[in-house]
C-alpha cells in the first residue's frame, strides 16, 4: 500500500494544480467569478449535493462496488418526504426523507451483500425502480419544499449558505472514517481482496450493507438540501446525477476497480467540477462546450493517472528489488 499512498500524494497535488489553474484562468477572464458572494452562493452551493453523495460513493467504489441509483434515491426520498411533510409537518418530512433514503440504501445493500448480485446490476435495476416509483407516484409533477428543507437548502448562517457547513462537516467525518479508522481500513481490505478480508474475521456482508445504507442516508441529506435550494423537484432531477457523481470520484483518483483511492482526491475533484460548472457559465461558454470540457478533463486525468501509475510502479519495483538484494545479501 505504500506505493499506492505515494502515488496518491502526487496525484492529489496534480489535482490541486489543475484546480488552481482553472480557478485562476476563469478569474482572469471574468473577475466577476472572484466575488465572494458568487464563490459561496453559486460555485460552492451548486456542488454541495454532488459533493455530499460523492463521499459515500468513494467508499463504495473503494470496495469495488458502484451505485448507479444515487440520484434516483435522492429524488424518491425527497418526494416521499415532501409528501409526508405536507400531511404531518416538517419534522415528519425530514424523518421520512431519511427513512426512505435508508430503505433504498438497505435495499441495494442487502441484494448486493446477501444475494450477491453484482452492484452494477443491482443498482442499474434499482435505478429504474426508484426513478419509476417517483415518476409513477407524482405522475410527472413536482414536489415542493418544506420549511426544514428550506432551512438547509436556502438559508444562510454567518453569511454563508448552511449547506456548505454541512458539506464541510461531512467531508471531515468521511475523511477520518476512510483514512484513519478501522472501518476505512476494512473497506480497503474488501476492495483489494474480499476473501482474505473475510478470513480476517471481517463481516463483509454487514460492511457492504452499511456503506450502501450510508449512501442512501447521504442521498436523503443531499435531497433535502436540493429541494430546499430549488423549492421544488421533479422526478427526473436525479438521473443526471448518477454518472456525474461517479465522474467526480474517478476524477479524484479512486480506481473503479476498487482498493485504491482517497477522499482528498474526491473533495478536490468536487471543487474542480464546481469551479468548472459555474466558471464556464460566467464565461458564457455554452453548456454543450462545458460538457466537452468535462469529458476532456476526465480523459486527461485518467491518462495522467495511468502514466503516473505505470512510472511509479515500475520505479518502485526496481527500488524494491535492489532493497531486497541489499537486505538479503
Amino acid at each position: 500500500m505504500k506505493t499506492v499512498k505515494k502515488l496518491k500524494f502526487t496525484f492529489n497535488i496534480a489535482l490541486l494544480l489543475i484546480l488552481i489553474v482553472i480557478f485562476a484562468a476563469i478569474s482572469i477572464l471574468n473577475p466577476v467569478f472572484l466575488s465572494p458572494e458568487y464563490l459561496l452562493n453559486v460555485v460552492l452551493r451548486n456542488v454541495v449535493e454532488l459533493g455530499l453523495i460523492s463521499l459515500p460513493m468513494t467508499l463504495i467504489i473503494i470496495t469495488g462496488g458502484i451505485d448507479l441509483s444515487v440520484g434516483n434515491i435522492m429524488v424518491l426520498s425527497a418526494m416521499v418526504g415532501a409528501m409526508a411533510a405536507g400531511r404531518m409537518g416538517s419534522v415528519a418530512g425530514v424523518i421520512v426523507t431519511f427513512l426512505v433514503g435508508l430503505a433504498c440504501g438497505l435495499f441495494n445493500g442487502i441484494i448486493i451483500a446477501k444475494v450477491k448480485v453484482p452492484a452494477m446490476v443491482t443498482t442499474l435495476a434499482s435505478m429504474f425502480l426508484f426513478l419509476g416509483l417517483t415518476r409513477g407516484m407524482t405522475g410527472g409533477d413536482s414536489v415542493y419544499a418544506f420549511p426544514a428543507a428550506e432551512a438547509v437548502g436556502s438559508k444562510l448562517f454567518l453569511g454563508i449558505p448552511v449547506q456548505i457547513f454541512i458539506y464541510m462537516i461531512c467531508a471531515v467525518l468521511f475523511y477520518i472514517l476512510l483514512a484513519k479508522s478501522t472501518f476505512g481500513r476494512r473497506l480497503f481490505g474488501i476492495g483489494l481482496n474480499s476473501n482474505a478480508t473475510k478470513y480476517c474475521g471481517v463481516d463483509i456482508e454487514k460492511m457492504l450493507i452499511r456503506i450502501y445504507a450510508l449512501s442512501g442516508l447521504m442521498c436523503a441529506l443531499a435531497a433535502l438540501i436540493m429541494i430546499g435550494r430549488f423549492s421544488s423537484l421533479r422526478y427526473d432531477a436525479g438521473t443526471n446525477i448518477n454518472l456525474k457523481v461517479i465522474t467526480i470520484v474517478v476524477l479524484g483518483g479512486t480506481s473503479i476497480l476498487g482498493g485504491t483511492g482517497d477522499l482528498k482526491g474526491t473533495i478536490l475533484a468536487t471543487l474542480i467540477i464546481g469551479v468548472l460548472n459555474s466558471g464556464l457559465t460566467v464565461l458564457n461558454i455554452p453548456i454543450d462546450t462545458q460538457t466537452i470540457v468535462h469529458g476532456t478533463i476526465l480523459i486527461i486525468s485518467l491518462i495522467a493517472y495511468e502514466i503516473v501509475n505505470r512510472r511509479t510502479s515500475s520505479k518502485r519495483l526496481k527500488e524494491v528489488k535492489t532493497e531486497l538484494l541489499k537486505k538479503t545479501g
Binding site: M1, T182, L192, N195, A196, T197, Y199, G201, E323, K327
Partner: protein, 503 residues
C-alpha cells in the same frame, strides 16, 4: 537416448528491474522426461514462458525440432509442436470442456466456399480420441466450473494434446493434486514418454523427480547451475545446487513434552460435506491431517473455525464448550486458521506487512475506532524479527515478497492474534526447499512455546516428519489415526484411499 528435439541457447530475459534469466541453456531429447528445479523465483516458469512464446527473450536462440524459432505468442509455439500446461490454470470456467480444448485453434470448414464455420463434429471426435488415450471420461459439454481440480488438470493435459505436439511442458502440475491423482498423472506421462514425446517437468517435490524423470536441470536466481542424470545424483546434491549450500535437516522437529488434551471436536457435522467428526489434540502437539484432495480437510478446519455457517457440532477448548457462529468468535477464543491459498484467502497482497498483521484484530490496534499506526508498525516489526521475514520494513507491500516470505507473513498474522490453537492448511504449498525448512523450524519452535498446531498437508513426508499424530480423512469422515511411531507413507495412503485403518 534419442535425438534432441528442443534446444534453448543462452537465453537472457529481463523484466523491469529484474534479471529473470541470465544466459540459460537447456536441451530436451525425444522420449525423455527432463526436470527443471530451483527455488521460488529461480526462473523456471519464465524459461518455459519464453519457450512457449508468452515472453520474447532479450537474446538467445530457441531450436525446436532442429529449426531456429521465434514465437510471437503461445499459439505459434503450439503449432510448431510445443505444448505447455501453465502453472496457473488457463481454463475458461464458463465455457465447456470442448470449447476449452480447442480455444484459439478451432477446426472449421468453409461454408459456401468462403465462410469459415466451426466444425463441432470433428472437434468432438478428436476430443473423444484424446480422452480415450488418457483413459479418462469427461463429458465434453460440461462447463469447466463444475469440474474438480484433478479433472481440470486432465482437461489441461487433453488440451495440450489437441496439438500434434512432440514436446510437452508441465509447470508444477501436482501442486494441487494428491497422491492418487499424481499417480494417475505419472502413468499418463510415462505412456506419453513411450510414444516418444519429450517432456519438461517442473516441480518442487523432489521425490517426484526421482520417481519419473531422466535428467534434471537446476536453476538458481536466473542462472543455469547444472544438468545431471537423475540416476547419478541424490536429493542432497540437488538441494545443494538449488540453494547454493548443503542442507541436511528438512524436518527440524524438536521433541516437546505434550500436555493434557486442550482441544476437542465432537460430533461435527455439515450436511453434504462432513460427517460425525471427532478428534482431540494435546497441548503442544502437532496434529496432522492427511487425505486426498477433496477429502474435506479444509472444509473441516473452516467449519471448526466458524467459516462454514451451516456446520454443527461441539468444540471444546480448555474444557469449555465454545459457541462459534463466525470466525470472529473463533479468533476471540484463540482458534486461528491459516488458509491454504495465500493469494486468495490468506493475505491482502496489495497491503503492507503491518496492515496485514493488524487486519484480523484492528480493534486492538485502535482507539475510538482510529487506528494507531505506531503500534501497528511496532508489532509488525517484532514478528518480522521473531520469524525472520525478509523485508526492508513493516510497511513493505506483501506483493513484492517471495512466496516463502509471504507464507511467513500469513503465519505472523495468525500469531499476532495470540492463538491457543493454530490451524495451518498446507503451510508449505508452492514454497521452495529453503523456505520450507525455515517454516518447519518456526512450527517446531512454536510448539516448544506451548502452542498447539493442527496441520493439513498433502505432502506425506512433511506430515511424517513434523507431526506427533496424523488423522486420515476420506469423503468428509475421519477414517484413521496414526501415531508418529506407527505412521508410514504406505499405511496412510492406503487408509486415505480405502478408508480402513485403526479408528
Amino acid at each position: 537416448m534419442g535425438e534432441t528435439v528442443l534446444e534453448l541457447k543462452n537465453i537472457v530475459k529481463t523484466f523491469p528491474g529484474v534479471l529473470a534469466l541470465n544466459d540459460v541453456s537447456f536441451d530436451l531429447e525425444k522420449g525423455e522426461v527432463h526436470a527443471i528445479c530451483g527455488e521460488n523465483g529461480a526462473g523456471k516458469s519464465t524459461l518455459m514462458k519464453v519457450l512457449s512464446g508468452v515472453y520474447q527473450p532479450d537474446s538467445g536462440e530457441i531450436h525446436v525440432n532442429g529449426q531456429n524459432r521465434k514465437f510471437a505468442n503461445p499459439m505459434e509455439s503450439y503449432k510448431s509442436g510445443v505444448s505447455i500446461i501453465f502453472q496457473e490454470t488457463s481454463l475458461f470456467e464458463e465455457m465447456t470442456v470442448l470449447e476449452n480444448m480447442f480455444l484459439g485453434h478451432e477446426t472449421s470448414k468453409k461454408t459456401l466456399g468462403f465462410l469459415p464455420v466451426l466444425n463441432y463434429r470433428e472437434m468432438r471426435e478428436k476430443a473423444r480420441e484424446i480422452f480415450k488415450r488418457l483413459n479418462t471420461k469427461i463429458d465434453l459439454d460440461t462447463k469447466i466450473k463444475t469440474l474438480g481440480m484433478a479433472q481440470k488438470q486432465m482437461v489441461e493435459i487433453a488440451k495440450s494434446l489437441t496439438f500434434d505436439a512432440n514436446i510437452l511442458i508441465f509447470d508444477e502440475p501436482t501442486a494441487s493434486l494428491t497422491q492418487r491423482e499424481v499417480d494417475a498423472l505419472f502413468s499418463i506421462i510415462l505412456s506419453l514418454k513411450k510414444e516418444g514425446m519429450g517432456i519438461v517437468y517442473i516441480s518442487h517435490r523432489l521425490e517426484e523427480i526421482f520417481e519419473i524423470c531422466d535428467r534434471v536441470t537446476v536453476l538458481r536466481d536466473g542462472q543455469y547451475i547444472s544438468t545431471k542424470n537423475v540416476g547419478g545424483t541424490n536429493k542432497d546434491e540437488l538441494v545443494a545446487d538449488m540453494v547454493g549450500r548443503t542442507m541436511h535437516n528438512y524436518y527440524p522437529k524438536t521433541e516437546t513434552e505434550l500436555g493434557d488434551v486442550i482441544f476437542r471436536v465432537e460430533n461435527f457435522y455439515d450436511e453434504g460435506f462432513l460427517e460425525n467428526i471427532n478428534f482431540e489434540v494435546r497441548k503442544g502437539e502437532i496434529l496432522g491431517f492427511a487425505g486426498l484432495a477433496g477429502a474435506g480437510r479444509t472444509e473441516l478446519m473452516e467449519a471448526v473455525c466458524g467459516l462454514a455457517p451451516k456446520a454443527q457440532g461441539e468444540v471444546i477448548l480448555d474444557g469449555k464448550k465454545l459457541s462459534i457462529s463466525d470466525y470472529t468468535d473463533a479468533m476471540k477464543e484463540g482458534l486461528v486458521y491459516v488458509s491454504e491459498d495465500r493469494g486468495k484467502y490468506g493475505l491482502i497482497v496489495d497491503m503492507s506487512i503491518e496492515e496485514n498483521i493488524s487486519m484480523p484484530q484492528l480493534k486492538d490496534f485502535s482507539k475510538f475506532g482510529i487506528i494507531d499506526r505506531k503500534k501497528e508498525s511496532a508489532v509488525a516489526a517484532e514478528y518480522m524479527k521473531e520469524i525472520t521475514i525478509k523485508a526492508p520494513s513493516p510497511d513493505f507491500t506483501v506483493n513484492n515478497l517471495s512466496g516463502g516470505n509471504q507464507q511467513k507473513v500469513s503465519i505472523a498474522k495468525a500469531l499476532a492474534i495470540q492463538p491457543k490453537i493454530l490451524v495451518l492448511d498446507e503451510p508449505t504449498r508452492g514454497v521452495d526447499v529453503n523456505a520450507k525448512a525455515e517454516i518447519h523450524k518456526i512450527i517446531s519452535e512454536l510448539t516448544g512455546k506451548g502452542l498447539t498446531i493442527l496441520m493439513i498437508s498433502s505432502e506425506l513426508p512433511e506430515l511424517l516428519g513434523m507431526c506427533d499424530r496424523i488423522y486420515v480423512m476420506k469423503e468428509g469422515r475421519i477414517v484413521g489415526c496414526f501415531s508418529r511411531q506407527d505412521a508410514t507413507q504406505d499405511k496412510i495412503l492406503k487408509t486415505a484411499l480405502e478408508g480402513e485403518g485403526e479408528e
